[in-house]
Symmetry: C2
Subunit: 171 residues, 2 copies
Amino acid sequence: MNKLGIHRGDTFEEYINYSNIAYQRKKIALVQKISTPVKVLKRKGNKIVNGYFEQKSTLDFIGVYDELPISFDAKETKENRFPLKNIHQHQIEFMESWNLNGGRAFILVSFKSKDKVFRLEFDDLIFHWATWEENKGKRGFASIPYSFFEDDCQEIVSRNGILLDYLEGLK
Amino acid sequence: MNKLGIHRGDTFEEYINYSNIAYQRKKIALVQKISTPVKVLKRKGNKIVNGYFEQKSTLDFIGVYDELPISFDAKETKENRFPLKNIHQHQIEFMESWNLNGGRAFILVSFKSKDKVFRLEFDDLIFHWATWEENKGKRGFASIPYSFFEDDCQEIVSRNGILLDYLEGLK
């Protein structure tokens, strides 16, 4: 994403954090990074001396945008397709439940080699996921082709001072 | 909360977790506990050997209920009033921003000695908070009296198989 003129070392997730700060400043949305829970086994005062990361029960980001509850993950791939193994079963279940209750869940996918970011809606994800499940073991179902993103997904670009304006076209 | 017939050792937060499981099972809402972030300074393999808890950027619980983005904290007090020092400035700011963007933020307050739970809406909280700020140092402004909860807040009770049906009357 060199086009955006940001430090090359910055990660995709940092780009999203910058965008969230801008969204909040502009009073467009409030979106928070949800950190991975840590199971603490032993403490010495305030210091954790034995613990381990647990599985997150949500996606990486949760927020509210113009009365809409949103939740999403940020995924990056070096490939020219999106491998579905990047998504875990418990994330599918969370997204399904989130949407069922009236929220909007999606995945932001960054294709590093193409310098492009797209928003993959849950309905599109679940379609490919289910097709993959039905065809386990067969070739050609384990990823979503890049052309699908180009043809059917919202491309995410910098806009109005938002580094990655991933809410564009959501409502 | 012995009336509810649950193990006496259970905490208020566990009651809420049970309720959230029931809400999800009944497809009424999806609400997740947000864990306190840990800053990891040193790891050995999967084990965290040096780290500390950081301040949470949200409230303790976030979810979606019938298209409404909700967020709340659970607070327990042994006193017969609710001391406002239980709430931190950054939580007020989060709640304000959450509501501004169309969500609904509140505090669930458990009065242990009275065996009662109430839902304190943000608008009521901010009224008392602002009055406290304006009268810093004077007596009588640092807490919300119990009578306010009785007269102006939704009492939370067990209902329809939900241990603490804290969504009752929210919409």
